[in-house]
């Protein structure tokens, strides 16, 4: 275990508008994998602690983009993932969505793609689109 490195990182928590600046002491193995989070300071609520752990292991973000609409009064439908998905999957999600087309009418919350990239998270409509 002598090859493990302990480092101190600083980043902002983005859970709420307070944007607390977190200071995190983390121990990593030689290949960069997180072995242990030693301490999280700077957070003003428990969500900051949870955020720091997640951020170091698998950063999660809500993914948003647009999908082409046919026969709607708008050319594009804004979409989002219902929950955050791994940041690492966002580029792959874009590739999947590029060629997709949905038909109007659409209501906010309608499922556009089920279980996006096997995340168990749905891609849903962000807005109503009426027929042209």
């Amino acid at each position: 275990m002598s090859t493990n490195v302990t480092e101190t990182l600083q980043f902002n928590c983005t859970t709420c508008p307070s944007e607390c600046l977190l200071t995190v002491k983390v121990e990593r193995s030689a290949d960069g994998a997180v072995v242990e989070v030693h301490s999280v300071t700077g957070n003003s609520c428990p969500r900051g602690y949870k955020f720091a752990h997640q951020e170091l292991t698998c950063p999660m973000r809500v993914f948003t983009t647009t999908v082409a609409v046919s026969s709607g009064d708008e050319a594009l439908l804004p979409v989002r993932t219902a929950e955050a998905i791994p940041l690492a999957l966002h580029a792959q999600a874009m590739d999947l969505i590029r060629g997709l087309t949905v038909d109007a009418p659409i209501r906010m919350g309608d499922v556009v793609l089920k279980n996006l990239l096997d995340t168990n998270i749905n891609l849903i409509a962000s807005m109503d689109i009426d027929p042209a």
């Binding site: 980043f11 902002n12 983005t14 709420c16 508008p17 944007e19 600046l21 950063p59 973000r61 809500v62 948003t64 983009t65 647009t66 082409a68 009064d73 708008e74 050319a75 594009l76 804004p78 979409v79 989002r80 940041l87 966002h90 580029a91 874009m94 906010m108 962000s126 807005m127 109503d128």
Partner: protein
């Protein structure tokens, strides 16, 4: 030279235009207008919203990213979702909607004694129309500062877009504005567009920022730049646009502490697109034409604690009043304006105020120290007053102080301040009363950096 006047409103002709009467006419159907209209409707006013687009929602329709609603709805929504929730609420009421309609003038009538009835003249593909109301709420939002306003020299090819225009092309029009972009300005729209471009296959060469710090929210620097490895170059600006027909490159230079480009630091960055996120300006041409006085610092109306402008019965809220950081704060402010407008309209008299608590007074509020502005600029009631301000530069340790003459009436706790955040500060009635007792006509909101102990 009367022949130079544009948008001439011929009073006789206006009288021939069909008229509809309301209590409160809200100009703008974005987040500010919808929140104001809903609040006015809740107070039993007859309300109309005039919106120039064919849909309600305003600029939120193209802000497809998350980050909205954290304080208002206690959950993270995208811009369109945030808008849709209000659109649904508006549709559930009998608020009259005038879409695809452009307001060409507000006429406040002759009367100055009583509450005048304001006439809002609008135009749409179905013709001209006049809406009357005792109260008008200005909620027209803002526009983006342009290349010309920040005087970037060089040629004038295609490919220079304000960030919002590029956002419209990408998120609304389904069109790719270029392949290789440089972004000037680290305001929130610039940061959001850096991520958006990257995801859509437009490579972002870098974000350049004139100031020595990022102008946007920390969450956006992290989620939009750091997540994608997009470099942020501080104290650097675009000093020349290169390319005759389409942008071929931009020249960037470092700037000194006076923000002047440092000769010898020029670097040419090849790109086909330059996005500008260099500030927002409240759109008040209509307000000025209606006789509303503007604050040169905010470029929005001078208002009192109920968000009423200098013209009785005309209220203002949202980004047309001052540029906000979060849509949630626009909503909160606009609900106040809408409620105050309804109270004014239904109370039918001057001074009828939503939070008409205390006795009247006349105080002006001015910013000092590193506070860039203070809002409201006037206080006419002794009552709890919400003050808003922004600092001009980031500081780690500073405090808010309320001053009257050479007396300090209040001092806040020492804490950090960032220009990206619109600060809110509750001014207690007793502080206002103390200022009045001192016989002053002005109180000062000062944000002063302090040395750390």
């Amino acid at each position: 030279m009367a022949e130079f006047k544009s948008s001439v409103i011929d009073t006789d002709a206006v009288e021939a235009v069909p008229t509809q009467a309301f209590d409160v006419v809200v100009i703008g159907g974005g987040p500010a207008g919808m929140a104001a209209a809903l609040a006015a409707h809740k107070a039993d006013a007859r309300v109309a919203i005039v919106e120039r687009e064919q849909h309600l929602g305003g600029i939120l329709r193209q802000c497809i990213h998350p980050g909205f609603g954290l304080s208002h709805f206690k959950q993270e929504l995208t811009g369109p979702e945030y808008a849709q929730r209000f659109i649904d609420q508006v549709h559930a009421t009998d608020i009259a909607l005038f879409l695809d309609s452009m307001v060409i003038g507000i006429d406040s009538g002759e009367s100055t004694e009583d509450a005048a009835v304001h006439s809002v003249t609008l135009m749409s593909p179905t013709g001209m129309l006049q809406l009357t109301g005792r109260a008008v709420v200005l909620a027209m939002g803002c526009r983006e500062r342009t290349r010309s306003e920040i005087k970037i020299p060089g040629s004038r090819p295609a490919g220079v877009f304000t960030a919002g225009l590029a956002q419209r092309y990408i998120n609304i029009e389904n069109l790719k504005p270029g392949s290789r972009a440089v972004i000037l300005g680290s305001g929130d729209i610039g940061l959001i567009m850096a991520r958006r471009c990257t995801l859509e296959g437009i490579s972002v060469e870098g974000v350049y920022e004139l100031m020595p710090y990022a102008n946007g929210l920390r969450r956006n620097v992290k989620n939009c730049l750091d997540d994608f490895g997009i470099p942020l170059h501080l104290s650097t600006t675009v000093t020349r646009v290169i390319g005759h027909d389409r942008v071929e490159a931009v020249e960037v230079s470092q700037v000194d502490e006076h923000l002047a480009p440092i000769p010898g630091t020029e670097r040419v960055v090849p790109c086909d697109t330059l996005l500008l996120s260099v500030g927002l300006i409240p759109e008040n041409e209509l307000s000025v034409a209606a006789g509303v006085e503007l604050d040169p610092r905010t470029r929005g109306a001078v208002v009192d604690q109920s968000l009423q402008t200098g013209v009785p019965g005309i209220f203002a809220c949202g980004n047309v009043l001052h540029v906000h950081d979060l849509a949630d704060n626009v909503t909160t402010e606009s609900e106040r304006a809408g409620a105050a407008a309804a109270a004014y309209a239904l109370g039918c008299g001057a001074g009828a105020d939503a939070d008409a608590a205390g006795p009247g007074c006349e105080l002006t509020v001015s910013p000092a120290g590193i506070a860039g502005y203070a809002l409201p600029g006037r206080i006419t009631t002794v009552g709890l007053t919400k003050l808003n301000f922004r600092v001009r530069r980031p500081v780690d340790t500073a405090r808010v102080r309320i001053l009257a003459g050479d007396k300090e009436l209040f001092a806040g706790k020492v804490r950090p301040f960032k220009p990206s955040v619109m600060e809110s500060f509750p001014l207690p009635a007793k502080v206002i009363q103390r200022a009045l007792d001192l016989g002053v006509s002005e109180i000062v909101l000062s944000v002063d950096p302090v040395e750390e102990a």
